[in-house]
């Protein structure tokens, strides 16, 4: 019963959204649904936070290896929630100085801002930067001229890498004007403009078909694994 109602909700919701772009009366619906989804996702944080607390508390109470790190996670989580929800150190917004809670939680000088700037940003942006190292090791390992396909991959990356720096200008800058299309920096642009455009377009069209097909499978209930097992 519960599953049948769920499938019905899925079907009706999906069909409504499918026809809404064609009905002049339905122009805002997509935005409304997106808002509702955001609210739902925000409320779902209770579930996520609960899972996080449970896992870390279990580890802490079991005193298994690394339980100290669980304590650190819990502390970091609690402190961030406290200073953010409590707007610790936030001054009122200039447009309403009489309302002490009117400031944004991440205003310069607040505790939440401090955590964002000095804890979260350095860690996340360094993790982002670590990709430069991973790109290097991946390129070293994977770009081998084993066959025609692999060679194309490798050669293209090569041209782009050279063409997008000063090195490309130095290496092929001597080419005369009538052959300027072969200069590395222009070759890089051509690859992007022609081959990359064609490849990406086909991938994008394919994805759109895949999304449509997946959507139909979901709406018709062919694919209902997300609804769980029992009746």
């Amino acid at each position: 019963m519960s599953r049948s109602i769920a499938l019905l909700i899925c079907l009706v919701g999906g069909l409504t959204m499918l026809v809404s772009p064609f009905l002049p009366m339905a122009t805002g619906w997509a935005n409304d649904v997106t808002d509702w989804f955001n609210i739902l996702a925000a409320m779902a944080f209770v579930l996520g936070g609960g899972s996080l607390l449970k896992v870390q508390l279990m580890r802490l109470s079991a005193r298994g290896p690394g339980w100290g790190y669980s304590a650190v996670t819990l502390l970091a989580f609690a402190v961030t929630l406290w200073v953010g929800l409590g707007k610790v150190g936030v001054v009122a917004d200039p447009s309403a100085p009489m309302v002490p809670w009117s400031g944004k939680p991440d205003d310069e000088g607040s505790a939440f801002w401090w955590i964002y700037l000095y804890v979260m940003t350095p860690i996340t942006s360094t993790l982002f930067a670590v990709l430069a190292f991973y790109v290097a090791s991946a390129a070293f390992r994977a770009f081998r001229a084993k066959n025609l396909e692999a060679t194309l991959l490798l050669a293209t990356a090569f041209v782009i890498l050279l063409g997008r720096t000063f090195a490309g200008v130095v290496l092929t800058g001597w080419l005369p004007d009538w052959a300027s299309g072969l200069r590395l920096e222009n070759l890089a642009v051509t690859i992007m403009d022609v081959f990359n455009t064609a490849g990406n377009r086909a991938i994008i069209i394919g994805i759109a078909l895949g999304v449509a097909s997946t959507g139909i499978r979901l709406l018709l209930g062919l694919d209902r694994s997300y609804l769980g097992g029992d009746a």
Binding site: A136, A145, A157, T165, V169, N196, T197
Partner: protein, 288 residues
């Protein structure tokens, strides 16, 4: 060939990026740039506008992509100010307005102190809704952005006189790090407003996706730090001529030095990897 620990690769990359930064910091030298067509197109599109035109600038990035995009924002803002154009700033990313304020402080407030907030430029802040925001501003700009960042109603801002929809701007610039960004601006704004010129400054990751819209729906684009450096050089040449450019206006070109060595290292690694591969294949062929 199993002897190469990947940590040597990491160390080499670290040196290839760190040493040029130090070298450049000590000597202050940068490499010359010659603009590619997409960057030149950005410069030309702004040059072509008559003085006083209003330009919609969207800051669609956050600190994670600042390294690539902040120099573009600085150059765009400087170019717009120099041409006496009027930027109307919005953001589709929550942290975009903060980045915009930083750019406004470092370019307009420092070097163009005569420009008045609300008349010559304005920051309308961030709105949630991703592409939904773009759909709405296509028909009703003020519905999405009723007030500026300090709460002043848009109706009272002289810079907004006569602007009712996105199509009223002759030029739109998005500086974008991902979703929502360049692609969404093309899909929801440029496609439905044929007269509107759209420029995009994008990260390297986005570049390959957004390239498929250039030069049709996207008049010009700055791709990654290289595009930023090219455009920065164009703007510097137009504004400073032979004078020394202030350090904050050479940021993208400074970043090109570590790029060059990083790229050269990657190329060397690819060559080395293939040399090892073919050497190994030959060994196998001789002694199976």
């Amino acid at each position: 060939m199993s002897g190469l620990d990947r940590r040597w690769i990491y160390l080499a990359m670290m040196l290839a990026v760190a040493l040029p930064i130090l070298w450049n910091g000590v000597t202050g030298k940068t490499f010359p740039e010659s603009p590619t067509p997409p960057s030149q197109a950005c410069f030309d599109a702004i040059e072509a506008l008559p003085e006083g035109s209003r330009v919609l600038v969207s800051f669609d990035y956050d600190p994670a992509s600042e390294g690539e995009l902040a120099p573009m924002a600085t150059s765009f803002m400087r170019h717009l100010m120099h041409k006496r154009l009027k930027p109307v700033v919005i953001a589709l990313w929550p942290l975009g307005p903060t980045k915009a304020e930083e750019t406004i402080a470092s370019v307009i407030k420092t070097d163009f102190p005569d420009r008045v907030n609300g008349k010559d430029f304005v920051n309308l802040g961030f709105q949630t809704g991703n592409e939904g925001v773009l759909k709405v501003i296509g028909t009703d700009f003020r519905k999405q952005f009723p007030v500026d960042r300090s709460g002043t109603p848009v109706d009272r801002l002289p810079i907004m006189d006569g602007i009712t929809k996105a199509g009223d701007f002759p030029l739109v610039i998005t500086i974008s790090a991902g979703y929502p960004g360049g692609k969404e601006w093309v899909q929801y704004v440029s496609s439905s407003n044929p007269g509107l010129v759209l420029l995009a400054g994008v990260t390297g990751v986005q570049a390959s996706q957004v390239y498929s819209y250039y030069p049709g729906q996207l008049r010009g684009m700055l791709a990654a730090i290289k595009g930023a450096a090219e455009y920065e050089a164009l703007v510097s040449a137009a504004i400073d001529g032979d004078r020394v450019t202030a350090p904050k206006y050479t940021e993208a070109r400074r970043r090109m030095a570590p790029q060059l060595f990083g790229h050269l290292l990657l190329i060397a690694l690819i060559v080395l990897g293939n040399a090892m591969y073919f050497a190994q294949k030959r060994c196998k062929a001789v002694a199976p």
